[in-house]
Every structure is written in structure tokens, then in C-alpha cells.
């Protein structure tokens, strides 16, 4: 029975490791392959504190979590600078350094000998010094860790993580602070992994560097990939399979001293075969569906928008005032001397030939680029030094010409993730004030459905964004922009490629938004649309404002027309 219990303890420990790793790579899309380092850090913290200072179990674990979370924060910094393959190599390097440090810091870590004689966990005076006694603790801790991970995965923060994975720029553009999110997910993932570390240290009563090599990280990675990235149940299943499979193979009788190598060969073949059969992993990522009892939207399709989004303030008031903006890239001046005012309740059309600097202007206004000259004032507040997510929070949001939807998220999730000031984006609230988060979520879902309904996507609310038609994608972009709650909206070609009906509908939305006191700026080529919705046209070419004025006046300008059309 001890044997079975031991195997199950291992399933629990690897379940914790795989689940926490999945948060990082499956949810956050951050391929930092240093999980064994976090695992080791928890194990050694427990080993050192218990043998050198005589500290007991829950405290060794808590201390290990703090230390490991701190290490996680350290790893997060290179992860913000480099991506993809480079991050893989950097973290593998870190992993190799970890082993060296453990091997060579003999007074502290015992060097290659490791730390033997770590006292077992003692519960109510009973030492849990055999697998059967330890299993309940391992199971409870695994359940707790998985609950923590699951709570995060299912929370608005988990949704933001997945949005960040899909598209970092778009996540920033809906107000997400990527730096904070990466730090948090690294710390949490590392902290959870360290729980498995302290458990294994007290359980085996011995830690040594060879238990935490790169191979260990690779094994945990295989568990996550096999189970399915972005699905926490999958990680548990992956851990169970890759722990149980080799143990099960021990019962396959093979004669001779090659028995274990034959079993490893079978193990490798099974791994490949499973992946061939389920290339996306055993469990695909789940799509969030709003609870069936969700409050049905009160706003009919294309109904008055003011119920959903309404900005305070007097119409005509200048909200954004950009003065003499300039931007050069390596000597080439993309924007020079751009001055533009956006007013409440007014729609400004930004027109000009390809390469005139229209999108660059949006990038400058929304904080994606830092101007090399000039200023942007929003209600008198200087926006020029703010990061994109801070600009959104301040009240200015933008869309992208290439849409940048969160393609693996559902329609309603795309909208939900964009709603501002969600308590569920704050991990402390997620764990400590679940009631508040749940209430906010219920309201947010209702609000998201309202917005979906407003743009006419209610019927598609559960659909994954990747499956939408182009027109629906465009509508979702508008919905996402509305959801940010900003009172200044910059739309980059919101109408191109749409049929007349949809164009009319979106034009209606834009006019409604203007009536709701939003300040709006659109980049558009369709002169009919511009004439239909814009209060003012700003014509830019070669990075500067050539002329501006009401559409009718400008459109009569022959010279301008010539220039615009070449």
C-alpha cells in the first residue's frame, strides 16, 4: 500500500507543478523553462530551515513560498525584455546556474551530498513519515494549490492573462498593465511550485541537486503540453499519466538488465502516440460561457447607447489637446508638427494618403509611441509620458487597423476583459474578497452582454473570436473599445470592408456615442462615411496637418481632392 500511496503522492506533487507551470505558459504564454528552479528553491528552503534552524512544516513552506516568489520576480525581468526562443535559452541558463549554486554552496546546501535527515511533517504530534500517512496532506495541499490556480485561471485576472497571451498590444490597449501581470503570474506560479518543493523535502526527508535538473523542467513541460495548454484539469491529467505510466510499465515483465531501458522506450513511444492522436493536448482550452442565469440585456440591438456608456461633461468642451506632436524613427520624421483637438460630442475624421502618419498619430496619442516633441493634454493632464494602459485608464482608448482580437477568447470574454476597474483583476480581491469579485463579475457579464447586444453580437456571445466573420470582428472591435469606458475613442479604420448595412449601423453607433458625450476620432478613407458622421476633418500628409475644417467645406476643395487621390 505504501507503494501505491507513494505513487499517488507523486501524482499530487507533479499535479501542483504542472498546474502552476500551466499558469505561466498556458495562460500567460510565457515560455520560461525554469520551473525546476522554483521547485528546488521550495525544497531547499524547507531542507535548510528545518535542519539548520529547526523550523517546522507550515513555516518552512511559507518561507519557501516567499523566497521562491521573489526568485520568480527576478526571472520575470528578463521575460519582459526577450521573448520566445531567447527566453527559453535564458531560463535554461538560469536552470543550469541553479544546479551549480546548489552543488557548490556546500555550507548551506550540502553540495552534491544534498541535505539528508529533513524531519517529517508533524500533524497533531503524529509524524507523517510514510507514504500512507503523507498522502492525505499531499492531496489536501494539491487540492489547495489547484484551487488557488483554478481560482486564478477562472478569474478576470486569468482572462486578462489569456488576453495578454493572445496579443500584448491589444491587452495594453484595453488597459491591462502587462508589467504587473507578468510579475504577479511569475510570483504566483513560482510560489505554488515551491509548495511541491517543500512537500517533497519533508516527504523524502532528503534533497539533492540532481532532483532538480533541466530534465525535471522538461518532464513538467511534457505534462502541461500533454494535458493541454490553458486547461488546468489537463495539467492534472498530464501529471497523472506521466507519473503512472512508468510505474505501470514496471509491471510489464521484461527479462534481463535491459528491462528498464525497454520500458523507457515504450514510454517514449506512448508519449509520441498520444501527441499524434491529440496534438492540442488531451483537454483543449475551455471557452468561457456566461452563466445561463445571467441578467439578460435590457438594451435592444442597436438601441440607445447612452444606457451603456455615457460620459459626463459639457458638449463641445476640449478633452484632448495635442500640440506640435513630432516623432522620428532613426532620422525619418514620421510625424512633424501635428496639432489636433478633440471635443466632447464631436467626431473628428483623420484623412490622408497611405503613409501620411495617421496611424503614427494614433500611436502617439495612445501612448504606444513616445513623441520626440510636443505635448498631449487630457483635461489638462499631460499624457505624453504615460504607458498605453495608463492612457486607457485615464480615459483615452484606441483600436487597431489590424483588429488584434483575442482570437482564442469568446466574444463575451473579449468584451469582458476590456471592462475597466475590475476587482477580479486584483489578485488580493480574487482570493480575499470572493463575494465582491463575484458580484462585480455578475454585473460585468451583464454589461458585456449589453454591449454585445448593442453591437449586434449577442447571438455570437459564446463564439470564439477566431470563428467570426470580418464584419463581426469589426463589430467586436467597437464593442471592446466601448467596454473600456474611455470617453475619448480613437478608431483606426472602423468601417473598411463592411457592407452598407453594417456601415450604417456602426455610423449610427458612432453618432450615438458622440451624443453620449464621447470625443471621437476616426481614421477613414470612405468619404461618404466621413461626410455622414464627422463634424470636422483633419487632413494630414507627410506627417503634418495640411488643413482642417468641416467636411463639406473641405470636400469641395479641388486641390485637396487631387492630392488625396494622387
Amino acid at each position: 500500500m505504501e507503494y501505491l500511496a507513494h505513487v499517488l503522492v507523486m501524482v499530487c506533487l507533479y499535479g501542483i507543478l504542472a498546474t502552476s507551470f500551466n499558469l505561466l505558459i498556458g495562460f500567460g504564454g510565457i515560455f520560461a523553462l525554469a520551473h525546476a528552479t522554483f521547485y528546488a528553491s521550495g525544497a531547499y528552503a524547507a531542507g535548510i530551515l528545518a535542519t539548520k534552524l529547526g523550523i517546522g512544516f507550515p513555516f518552512t513552506m511559507l518561507a519557501g513560498m516567499v523566497v521562491t516568489a521573489a526568485i520568480g520576480l527576478l526571472v520575470a525581468f528578463p521575460a519582459m525584455r526577450v521573448g520566445s526562443h531567447y527566453l527559453v535559452v535564458i531560463t535554461l541558463a538560469l536552470q543550469a546556474i541553479t544546479i551549480d549554486v546548489l552543488m557548490n554552496s556546500k555550507p548551506l546546501t550540502g553540495g552534491p551530498d544534498g541535505i539528508p535527515g529533513i524531519p517529517p511533517v508533524s500533524l497533531f504530534g503524529t509524524p507523517l513519515n510514510n507514504p500512507v500517512a503523507f498522502l492525505p496532506l499531499a492531496a489536501v495541499m494539491a487540492a489547495l494549490c489547484c484551487a488557488v490556480a483554478w481560482r486564478l485561471g477562472a478569474s478576470p485576472f486569468g482572462r486578462s492573462l489569456r488576453a495578454m497571451r493572445e496579443n500584448e498590444a491589444a491587452a495594453q490597449a484595453v488597459g491591462k498593465n502587462l508589467v504587473r501581470m507578468k510579475l504577479v503570474v511569475f510570483a504566483l506560479s513560482a510560489g505554488l511550485a515551491s509548495v511541491a518543493g517543500s512537500l517533497v523535502a519533508h516527504y523524502i526527508a532528503f534533497v539533492n541537486p540532481e532532483s532538480f535538473t533541466i530534465e525535471e523542467t522538461i518532464l513538467i513541460l511534457a505534462m502541461v503540453i500533454l494535458g493541454g495548454m490553458g486547461n488546468l484539469w489537463g495539467s492534472l491529467a498530464g501529471a497523472a499519466i506521466l507519473v503512472l505510466l512508468p510505474e505501470g510499465l514496471k509491471f510489464v515483465h521484461v527479462p534481463g538488465d535491459i528491462a528498464d531501458m525497454v520500458r523507457q522506450v515504450i514510454y517514449g513511444v506512448v508519449l509520441i502516440v498520444i501527441l499524434r492522436l491529440r496534438p492540442e493536448g488531451l483537454f483543449p482550452e475551455t471557452v468561457f460561457r456566461p452563466p445561463t442565469g445571467a441578467v439578460l440585456p435590457t438594451v435592444p440591438a442597436n438601441g440607445p447607447v447612452s444606457a451603456v456608456v455615457r460620459a459626463e461633461g459639457a458638449p463641445g468642451e476640449v478633452v484632448v489637446s495635442a500640440k506640435a506632436l513630432a516623432k522620428s524613427f532613426g532620422g525619418i520624421k514620421a510625424v512633424k508638427d501635428l496639432t489636433i483637438d478633440l471635443r466632447r460630442g464631436e467626431i473628428v475624421g483623420l484623412i490622408g494618403p497611405n503613409g501620411a502618419g495617421k496611424t503614427t498619430a494614433f500611436n502617439l496619442l495612445s501612448g504606444f509611441l513616445r513623441p520626440t516633441g510636443g505635448s498631449i493634454l487630457y483635461h489638462g493632464r499631460d499624457l505624453t509620458k504615460l504607458k498605453p494602459h495608463e492612457v486607457v485608464t485615464a480615459g483615452l482608448a484606441r483600436s487597431f487597423q489590424d483588429l488584434k482580437l483575442f482570437t482564442k477568447l469568446s466574444v463575451v470574454e473579449n468584451i469582458l476583459v476590456s471592462l475597466p476597474r475590475q476587482p477580479g483583476d486584483n489578485l488580493l480581491d480574487v482570493y480575499l474578497r470572493p463575494g465582491l469579485v463575484r458580484r462585480a463579475e455578475r454585473e460585468n457579464v451583464a454589461r458585456a452582454l449589453e454591449i454585445a447586444s448593442f453591437v449586434g453580437l449577442l447571438a455570437k456571445a459564446d463564439e470564439v473570436a477566431a470563428n467570426l466573420s470580418y464584419a463581426e470582428e469589426k463589430l467586436l472591435v467597437i464593442a471592446r473599445l466601448l467596454a473600456t469606458g474611455a470617453d475619448v475613442l480613437l478608431l483606426d479604420e472602423p468601417l473598411s470592408g463592411l457592407d452598407t448595412g453594417t456601415v450604417e449601423r456602426i455610423c449610427g453607433v458612432l453618432r450615438d456615442l458622440a451624443r453620449a458625450n464621447k470625443a471621437i476620432c476616426i481614421i477613414e478613407h470612405n468619404l461618404e462615411v466621413i461626410r455622414g458622421v464627422c463634424d470636422e476633418i483633419v487632413f494630414i500628409d507627410e506627417g503634418r496637418v495640411l488643413t482642417k475644417g468641416p467636411p463639406d467645406t473641405l470636400m469641395r476643395d479641388r486641390e485637396l481632392a487631387e492630392r488625396y487621390f494622387g
Binding site: Y86, V88, I97, D100, L226, Q264, V269, I272, R276
Partner: protein
């Protein structure tokens, strides 16, 4: 000072070995995008085949190398056709392919142990000399490593630059879709680079057979070094991979001049860490 000269020479010789490994891996990874983790055991298989041909079949070393290189190329092609190709057709994400490659790694490594046994394999029928420059020593095998790196490097460079298939490989590495558009058969080219890359690794393996002997686990370190060199060198650049291979070896060797050798890995990886943070796209940046 003598020590410094010796360490420099060691860096040069080991760098040649790393460069060979990196070249083979770079060809495969740069062209097909497959993180061919099983490159390690395929390289080991090549070395074992050469050993078997020399020690068991009694072939002269040069003949064994030629046959071994050819057999390894076939092995590499088989790994592409039977493991990676089906995933490629299915459009699997790269990390799934990586884990499949890991499965292949486990299979091959253990098959080597089963087929050849787990003891160290050496050949003593091949005699070689020890040379010295001043007080620094080196062997004919090490000279062979440098020559092999030089010849293989120049050969591949020439092939990539001048031949029709070579240009097609560069084209595919540069822009896979455009390669399809101009009518390049990407499957055939993938087979070719798997054959070439594996063959190059077998050259490195043959020389390691003479220098250190073989064991079933030798593939892990090899593919690790190759992967790191290719990333540090800049993905898609063969030249970068070669430079990075030498760089790693020199840091590994010269870094130990004044530092205790048990910190060897740390020195290498701290340098690497700093390098990649300062230059996140590798030594040779793509145009």
C-alpha cells in the same frame, strides 16, 4: 601564461566541436523550424555506428566515417518523415513538436543502450600523435576537429551559396511561404536538411569517438550546446551559430583561468545571460 595558451587552444578545439554540432542543428532548425531535440541521440547513433563499423566490422576509420555519416543522414531523414512530418501536416504548435521530439529522444537514447550496451565505446586501432607548441599540447584528433569544422563549414557555405538546392534552403529559411510560392518543394528540402544536419553531427560524433569515447547519454549535452549556440548566434544564421559555438567554448575554457573549475557552467551561462539581455536577437541579426 602557459596555462593561458593551453586554455586558448582548448577553447579552439572544443569550439570546433561545438561549431560542428551547432551547424547541423542550425541547418535543421533554421530551415524547418523544428526544435529537433532528438538531434542529440541521432548524433550519438551516428557515432555508435562508426564505432561498430571500426570495432566490430573491422573497417578502416575513414570508411567507417563515410558509411556512418550516410547512415546518420538516413536516420535523421527517418526522424523527420515519421515523427515531425505528420505534426507539420497537422499544423501542430512548435511546443507540441518539441515534446514529441523529447519522446523520440527518450526512445533513441534507450535503444542505443539496448542495442550497443551501456559501457563506454572506444577504438584503439586508430593511432594518433600528440603535438606541442611551446609548452602547450594538442593531439591529432583535435587538429582533426578543427579541420573538420573548417572543411564542413566551408563545404556547407559553398553548397548554400552556389548550388540550386543550397539557395533553395536559404530561401526556405528566409521565408517559407515565399519558397512555396516560387515552386520550391518544402518537403523535399526538409528531407535534405535533416539528412545534411544529421550527417554533420555524425562527423562531430566520429571525432569524439576518438577523443573521449561514447556513452548512450552523450546526446543530451550535445543538443543543449547546439541549441544554445544557434539561439545565441541568431536564428537562421549558420555563421552566427559557428561563432557562438566557438564563443561558448572559449568562455568555458578561458573563464576558468582564475576561477575554480566547479563554476564552469555558471561562468558560461552568466556570460550568456548577460549577452542575450544586451543583444536579444543574437550575434548575427537577420536583415
Amino acid at each position: 601564461m602557459d596555462l593561458l595558451i593551453q586554455l586558448t587552444l582548448n577553447g579552439l578545439f572544443n569550439g570546433a566541436h561545438f561549431a560542428l554540432l551547432a551547424m547541423g542543428f542550425a541547418l535543421i532548425f533554421g530551415t524547418t523550424g523544428v526544435v529537433h531535440f532528438a538531434y542529440g541521440p541521432v548524433y550519438a547513433v551516428g557515432a555508435y555506428i562508426v564505432w561498430a563499423l571500426v570495432a566490430l566490422a573491422g573497417l578502416p576509420f575513414w570508411a567507417a566515417v563515410i558509411l556512418g555519416v550516410a547512415a546518420t543522414a538516413a536516420f535523421g531523414v527517418a526522424s523527420y518523415l515519421f515523427i515531425y512530418r505528420p505534426f507539420e501536416i497537422g499544423g501542430s504548435p512548435p511546443f507540441v513538436v518539441l515534446v514529441a521530439s523529447l519522446g523520440l529522444f527518450i526512445v533513441l537514447k534507450n535503444l542505443i543502450g539496448i542495442v550497443f550496451g551501456t559501457d563506454v565505446k572506444t577504438v584503439d586501432s586508430v593511432a594518433y600523435d600528440v603535438h606541442f607548441v611551446g609548452d602547450a599540447f594538442f593531439t591529432t584528433v583535435q587538429v582533426g576537429q578543427v579541420l573538420a569544422a573548417l572543411l564542413v563549414g566551408c563545404g556547407i557555405a559553398l553548397f548554400l551559396r552556389a548550388s540550386r538546392y543550397g539557395k533553395a534552403i536559404r530561401a526556405m529559411a528566409d521565408n517559407r511561404e515565399m519558397a512555396t510560392v516560387i515552386g520550391i518543394d518544402t518537403k523535399r528540402l526538409s528531407i535534405l536538411v535533416f539528412a545534411l544536419g544529421s550527417a554533420v553531427s555524425a562527423v562531430a560524433g566520429s571525432l569524439v569517438l576518438l577523443r573521449d569515447g561514447l556513452n548512450p547519454n552523450m546526446g543530451f549535452g550535445a543538443v543543449f550546446v547546439a541549441f544554445v549556440a544557434v539561439i545565441v548566434g541568431g536564428v537562421g544564421s549558420l555563421r552566427g551559430a559557428v561563432i557562438a559555438g566557438f564563443l561558448l567554448a572559449f568562455v568555458q575554457s578561458l573563464g576558468m583561468w582564475q576561477i575554480p573549475t566547479e563554476w564552469q557552467n555558471t561562468i558560461v551561462f552568466v556570460v550568456l545571460f548577460g549577452f542575450l539581455l544586451a543583444r536579444p536577437s543574437g550575434i548575427v541579426r537577420r536583415a
